[in-house]
Symmetry: C2
Subunit: 747 residues, 2 copies
């Protein structure tokens, strides 16, 4: 099937397969290496086991219920028409299988990454007794397992689809991407609800009502809280980045096909982004070995950053060599002019530049040393309100700069590839490829966060005298570095989601053209498209509103359970009996799953309703509105939440009266407001914006056929179209009702 490969193309194809598998093997080796390190053999082991059991049981339960949804969607995918001319039934099957594979890979990345993280934590804690350097190495390499899995599986999926389907691979990969995105949506949103329900529940009963410290083992919700860190930050984040990784590949492949037709150029446009990624895998591996302390005085952050820089430099050299030998002889479709080879690595580097500027912005707006956070700590002196207002203002401002840096990255692509047509968007997709080149490092840095956090929690909760005071210091230091690396990865995840969504958005417009149809013109001045823009912009707010409320409801259930255990378990308060940690975990689990449902439905059904009711062009407007508002809101929530968190930390470190002062109380209120924003609602918007774009791409052909308003924007209903619109309306109404069905009383 498909166009023949040139010799060069087939060599590169082989190379990509080998590197992808190498990445996976490396992940396995690292995992084994991690497991070889000794555990504490004491209290910490027991608690670590509880955390792992809880995390795994959550994910297993969630996968079971997701499984049902995946099966239903796989069946629907089989029925949906594809973009291809008739006579390609194998594509539907391929797409459906790819969907299952994407879901499976995404689930695997999350599950395996989390599993190794929950095993690494106690080993890191044990190593802290020996040396800082050793602890750091185990934590980072444990995190790298998830990173290399993301890299390897993402690359493998892409290249397998390409080998089988060639120029139709993108259609199959849409299924792959959708599978990954769906799991990420559920992991991320579910994980977010899980972790904040446990966190808020544990804090409100423990710290506020009972006056016991944060990680007190008598608090039944404490293990759920630690489980939540793993579920949200390991599994959720890894699968979120995995899907961005996949989706930028899909978009780059579609746009590469459109910009450089394979009939003329071979598959250069398609294979180049995959080769860039392969270079990234190798660079990440090299970078791992740069993450080691040079003398015990060096800070962990510095070592981690050295790893990042090493990888970045290695990959940039790789890009230029690759392009020089591979990206020759290409011309621009619109202008007919030659596209010189060095333009491609520069477009990719724009993505690395965007990742670096995202890091910088995150640091500037959320680090405890920054002006904005200092201003917020100061504002705590006049109370929670002034602190929160500062937090809101800071969040809004950071959003502005984040958008501008993304706009600049797109503009760079315009400067390089011209402002006309698809080549510029191929550049944008390459920027997305570049952003996630160092996914190995990014996921490693992110997973490092919960490992360090859990290791410190284990040291706190252990009743035996295993840990030396020095070890506790080491772990506290690593925990605070982990907070920074987590925040940085969140920033990159958002920016990459936006770039991925933008590339998908253009793919949505390009596909009909690619397949011999007409280019979809998304003229904003058409009233229907403007309506699409308005409604699309509203969806992220609906999502945020529902997920914030979901945390509140789930936290209420948790509070009741913790109170019950204190009241009913004899000896718990005195420390002679253990609380029932498992029950709290399963409360968070069930709540997260329940509250997920309406969000999942809305993410899938709303774009479909707009498309089937108001035309595929209106759906294009919808995508535009959803992207811009999701981006603004996600950054706002993440940054203001992070800044409010660190303002509290600054005060806890002794500023303005320290712990227990009025300023501290104000800061705690601010932090509690920020928590569900930064850990539930904000992160949920990443997969959401990608889901709606993928849905549009997947269902686009059917929408073109049966939308009530047709391509020429005239009313032209079909019975099937009417039936679909009615069904979707009913489904959305159900989801809205379901999200409001119970209003739990916290008291």
């Amino acid at each position: 099937m498909g166009i023949e490969l040139t010799v060069l193309d087939s060599r590169f194809t082989l190379m990509i397969v080998i590197i992808a598998i190498a990445g996976l093997i490396y992940a396995v080796l690292l995992a084994r290496q991690t497991m070889k390190h000794p555990t504490t053999g004491g209290d910490a082991d027991r608690i670590s086991d509880a955390i792992r059991t809880g995390s795994n049981s959550y994910l297993r339960k969630q996968l079971t219920s997701i499984g049902v949804m995946v099966a239903i969607l796989a069946a629907i995918l089989m029925m949906l028409p594809t973009h291809q001319p008739e006579g390609f039934p194998s594509i539907r099957i391929g797409r459906m299988l790819a969907f299952l594979m994407g879901a499976g890979f995404s689930a695997t990345v999350g599950y395996a990454g989390m599993n190794i993280a929950t095993r690494a934590n106690v080993r890191v804690a044990a190593a802290a007794n020996k040396s800082f350097g050793e602890a750091l190495k185990i934590a980072y390499r444990g995190g790298t397992v998830a990173g290399m899995l993301t890299d390897g599986l993402g690359l493998l999926g892409g290249i397998i689809a390409f080998i089988i389907f060639r120029e139709w691979a993108f259609e199959v990969l849409l299924g792959f991407g959708f599978g990954g995105t769906l799991i990420a949506l559920f992991y991320r949103v579910g994980g977010g609800i899980f972790t904040k329900a446990a966190d808020v529940g544990a804090d409100l009963v423990g710290k506020v009502e009972k006056g016991i410290p944060e990680d007190d083992p008598r608090n039944a919700a404490v293990v759920a809280d630690l489980v939540g860190d793993n579920v949200g930050d390991c599994a959720g984040m890894a699968s979120d980045i995995f899907e961005s990784y996949e989706i930028t590949e899909v978009a780059a492949m579609i746009l590469g096909l459109a910009a450089f037709p394979p009939a003329i150029y071979g598959f250069k446009g398609v294979l180049f982004p995959l080769m860039v990624r392969a270079i990234g895998v190798l660079s990440s591996i090299i970078g791992t070995y740069a993450v080691r302390l040079r003398g015990e005085r060096e800070s962990a952050m510095k070592a981690i950053n050295r790893g990042y820089t090493t990888s970045a430099l290695a990959s940039i050299v790789g890009f230029f060599i690759l392009s020089f030998f591979y990206m020759q002889g290409l011309t621009d479709l619109n202008t007919g002019l030659a596209v010189v080879w060095w333009k491609f690595p520069i477009a990719v580097m724009a993505g690395i530049g965007l990742a670096i500027s995202t890091n910088f912005l995150t640091e500037h707006f959320t680090s405890t040393e920054s002006e904005p956070v200092k201003g917020m700590s100061k504002a705590c002196q006049t109370g929670a309100a002034t602190n929160i207002l500062e937090g809101i203002a800071v969040g809004y401002e950071s959003s502005v700069w984040a958008v501008i840096s993304i706009a600049v990255a797109i503009f760079v692509s315009v400067i390089i590839f011209g402002s006309l047509g698809v080549t510029a968007f191929y550049g944008v997709a390459l920027c997305g490829i570049g952003q996630l080149t160092l996914t190995g490092n990014n996921v490693a840095m992110d997973t490092f966060g919960p490992i360090a956090d859990n290791a410190q929690g284990l040291a706190e909760m252990s009743k035996d005298d295993y840990f030396t005071p020095q070890a506790k210091n080491v772990l506290a230091d690593m925990d605070s570095v982990g907070n920074t690396t987590k925040a940085v990865t969140k920033g990159i995840a958002i920016a990459s989601a936006v770039i991925a969504a933008v590339s998908l958005f253009r793919s949505y417009i390009e596909l009909p053209l690619l397949l011999g149809g007409e280019l979809l013109v998304l003229d904003l001045s058409s009233p229907l498209i403007f309506i699409g823009l308005l409604v699309g912009g509203a969806v992220p707010l609906l999502f945020a509103s529902i997920s914030i409320k979901a945390v509140g409801k789930a936290a209420a259930k948790m509070i009741r359970e913790v109170r019950r255990q204190f009241a009913e378990i004899p000896g718990l308060w005195e420390g002679t009996a253990d609380p029932d940690y498992e029950r709290c975990v399963s409360i968070s689990t069930r709540a997260a799953q329940k509250e997920l449902l309406p969000l999942g439905i809305l993410a899938i059904a709303t774009p479909l309703l707009v498309g089937f009711l108001l035309s595929s062009a209106a759906l294009g407007g919808f995508l535009g509105g959803a992207i811009i508002v999701s981006q603004l809101l996600a950054v706002f929530m993440t940054i203001s939440g992070g800044a409010l968190d660190n303002a509290k930390k600054s005060i806890e470190d002794g500023l303005y009266g320290g712990k227990g002062s009025d300023a501290h109380k104000a800061a705690v209120v601010g932090d509690t407001v920020g928590d569900p924003l930064k850990d539930t609602a904000g992160p949920a918007l990443n997969p959401m914006m990608k889901v709606i774009n993928l849905i549009a791409l997947l269902v686009g052909p059917l929408i073109l056929q049966v939308s009530l308003i047709d391509e020429s924007l005239l009313f032209n209903p079909t019975p099937l179209g009417i039936a679909i619109v009615i069904a979707l309306t009913a489904v959305i109404a159900f989801a809205m009702w379901y999200s409001k069905r119970e209003t739990e009383d916290i008291i």
Copy 2:
């Protein structure tokens, strides 16, 4: 000059002039009538004088500094090219004069409305001693003065420009609209900063530090607080609605010209919206007489609503009669099919429907009886954080519904006029015309708010025994009704700003075509236009961030002054000496003016930079992004602020422990967070979104000539273009620096 008028057209023109003047005469009569009522002759008179002096001195100072800006902009307007072919120099002069007129009218509406309100307050207070009915009548009719001025001047400006310039009138009216919008921006933003600086300052020193009640006359900032109500709610809101009123006229005239060319149909498309407005003036006058109590038991809200319903019914009858006799024989440009007469009144009624649904939504999300507010009061029991999270979730949800109702209104226009081309947007403009048909009533209701609020404040602050307990009850009741009417008008102001902005947005695209050029295609899939969309979406957040911080800085100054007076004025605490109210007013005044500057500059310079740097098409994308995000953010801020306010009121009325309880403290924190959102940042977005759209329309022709990227999206720089881009960048950098130049310590 221009196309000749038909007999029918000239008769209607005359009628509009007469009705506009009748509206103005009615305003004068009502003002006189209000002044005839007696004042209290006691303490209240003295305080009322202080409020009036303060309000007037603020507006006078502000007008002086705005005057400079207006003069500069008038000069720039004279130099800017127009959309017309050459040989129409008189249009530039006309536009400049219209700009001055628009600014003057807007300033007059604000000033006169506020002036009469500050005179009515003490008369309402005096009348409360006699009867509820009498007090209500004076308050409502005092408010109607501003309403009728808005109506009369708005209509007069439109028709004068039409009489002189005919089919070029829109160009002149762009100047008129811009003048009005500029003043509204300054009144609204300046007023917002003024009022919240005074409010927060008065509360933090008075209530929190000194433990004295809200309107205690010893607090030096108390008068500034009452002045702020007038400045923000009377002057700011009246000029805000005045500009929406004008701008929907301008947009309807442009789109009317484009949809129904005068060479064929005469000026039906242009005069119809003006006639609709004229009917609105008459209906509002009729409605005034329905606002009287039927028996002392009736609630004030019911009487005010009766006035609204009466006006609405009268106007609807008028629309149908008008259309039947006037809007005959029109055909659609795109389809060539006849446009039957009844379509026009239905499009107008969609606007009234939107106004009503806006009222409903505002009530549903913010009234003390509503589920969302009840949920928030309940959440106060677990602290400020849960309350604020609920408030955020409620605000986001309300935004979703507000957008959907606007989308439905636009869709109605699509159903009526088809989805192709300009006629549908003419329908949208008619919807905007319809929304503001009852501007007389709306502004009256809004101004009623501060009159009632001030009247109650006067009764509280009076030390003599003038007021009977019954009178105080009457005034408290009226005050709470005033809170509802204010909230309702805010909702309508936002919705009308969005509809006005949407109509202007289409006008921006339509103008080049109307003038023989090519239609601007705003294809979202072009990278430059997508960049425009992203940056446009970011601007409202920047605006919100700066204005929230501005309130904080101004409040800090106020706090220092109030503390100083308590420390330095002997006898103030004992009540034997008066504080220096005047000084606090002038602190708020100066702060408001200073903080305004960067916001004013950014609103004007940002769209210009996008246009000159990235092409006029990118500017189109920018407008789209700015409209959708402004709308979402403005509704979110207004509704969550209002709901947080009312959650506090519910608790103060005795829920969950009432005043002084922990729940009350949590509610106060929530209210303080909501205040700057709902009274400064949110309302500032209305004029902002209109300013940027008008700027685009006014500067559009120059942008087409010298933008660095030309119409065909190719890089094509001119020296003038480069110079402008550099200058704008410098100006924006200055504004950003200026907005951060001082960080006041609140402590």
